[in-house]
Amino acid sequence: MPAIEVEALEVSFGSVTAVDGVTFSGEAGEVLALIGPNGAGKTTTVETLEGYRRPTRGTVRVLGLDPVADHHALVPSIGVMLQQGGTYPVMSPERAIRLFASYYDDPRDPDELLDLAGLREVAKRPAKRLSGGERQRLSLALALVGRPRVAFLDEPTAGVDPAGRIVVREIVAALRDGGACVLLTTHELAEAERLADRVVIVDRGRVVAAGRPAELVTTGEEIRFAAPTGIDVVALGTALGASVVEVGPGEYQVAVAATPAAVAALTAWLAAEDLPLADLRAGRQSLEDAFLRLTSRDAHHEPEPPR
């Protein structure tokens, strides 16, 4: 049984469709990153898994349970870090962690969590006087109190300084090594690459790519070129023996290794069709290339869903 299952999830707010047919799953002992631009539907997807929202269509399961209908059975097993807020400003980290510990049957030791999250020195300071990064780490520590089997971390590194990021990375790695499934969101590709075993790239409510970061970055198994928009990709694909996709207006991607023979076949076909070739690239891309290619658009971003 996967720890997290999202199947054809759709979430609408009135006429706005925030999530539009998202499918993915996560296993125990795996760190999964949802990445995408603001308004892509990341938080809405996570909040549906946390039981805050009901799917408009499709299903979500966490540890085999329905997050809304089986809420009481599920909450002891999940840890939640909201994108923002969720802590009492008047409460110190120590007091907040002890209070949260009282909610669970077998909580982690509050002192150990203070050390783990690097909050020992500010343990008695009210949260409102903590830095942004310290508050993020407090929020993360509170997500760990109940020994979650599934942890949902919405933007765990937002506003966290480099030293704090190392703490967050270590905590995420420890959760995975302890057998938990971690679903986190970020719009920072470098963080996704460092933190996650697998990434799911979402854009405008849809999954545009998923896989291990290495798979998404280093395909050398493709040729990209620019030509007039609307060329016959089916005919070209047949000629090359590989699928051709127009990934953006006038921008094409051929799923074939960039051998001299393949490049020659491509240019020959374009020459026969009398089509100009504006750009030709083959080989390694960065995750950022992949991300920008997959999420580029002329249209404006969808608005954030109402909160």
Partner: protein, 240 residues
């Protein structure tokens, strides 16, 4: 529901009420100052033999309004704004147990208020009538009604609006509910004012503690608020 979680949360809610200055101001300082000032200085004529005989029941009613409505709605409203209600909904405590803890904390703080205000009033020469049982019933009914109003504000409005509105209602209720002066002095407007839960509460408290016939109308109005306010609040309350 976990009793351990409920107990811990209730104690934490009590602690947060008693350790913050702005919350103590409305729950203790204002009722105490009102009691001492108005009982000692002949600013307003009360129609009772001793001024404290009027103002002691008044501030016992005011204590309920300040704790169950003002303090509860403002703190809950800000916690909702900070995402605390939402976050606690994803713990085994759960959002409904959280609200139960808040009401239990209100009752505990009210108990302290009654003891403190009662002692001060006694020091000022107050001798309550034997009908204290009725007064306890009125205080409990008032707590339910004002908690409902408090949750309705906190669960539907922005925290800043809740803050303004709760304080505004507090001032209005203080003025026209038979707390600062007998409600009969409002003349023709008294009949309208008596529909307020605050007026109904003092309508019952004054005769209960002062010796006299408790008007049925007071009980009816108070009970109606105690039923309606929590129902509307439960239907309208949003945790995020």
């Amino acid at each position: 529901m976990s009793w351990r979680a409920l107990r811990a949360q209730t104690l934490e809610e009590i602690r947060m009420t008693l350790e913050q200055g702005e919350r103590l101001l409305v729950t203790f300082v204002i009722p105490i100052l009102g009691l001492v000032l108005f009982s000692s200085v002949p600013i307003i004529s009360t129609g009772t033999a001793h001024r404290v005989d009027f103002f002691a029941p008044s501030v016992l009613g005011l204590a309920v309004i300040s704790t169950a409505m003002v303090n509860l709605s403002i703190s809950t409203g800000f916690e909702r704004g900070w995402g605390v209600l939402k976050r606690l909904g994803a713990t085994p405590l759960g959002s409904s147990t959280l609200l139960v803890a808040k009401v239990l904390a209100v009752l505990a703080v009210e108990l302290v208020q009654v003891v403190v205000l009662g002692a001060i009033a006694a020091g000022l020469g107050w001798h309550p009538h034997a009908g204290a049982g009725l007064a306890v019933g009125a205080e409990l009914l008032g707590t339910v009604a004002f908690s409902g109003i408090g949750f309705l504000l906190a669960g539907t409005l922005r925290a800043e609006v809740t803050l303004a509105l709760a304080n505004g209602l507090y001032v209005v209720m203080l003025g026209i509910s038979g707390i600062m002066f007998p409600i009969a002095k409002l003349g023709g407007f008294a009949a309208v004012a008596r529909l307020l839960p605050s007026a109904a509460l003092t309508d019952v408290l004054h005769p209960s503690l002062g010796g006299g016939a408790v008007p049925v109308e007071g009980w009816v109005v108070l009970a109606a608020w105690a039923v309606a306010a929590p129902i509307v609040a439960a239907a309208a309350f949003r945790f995020d």
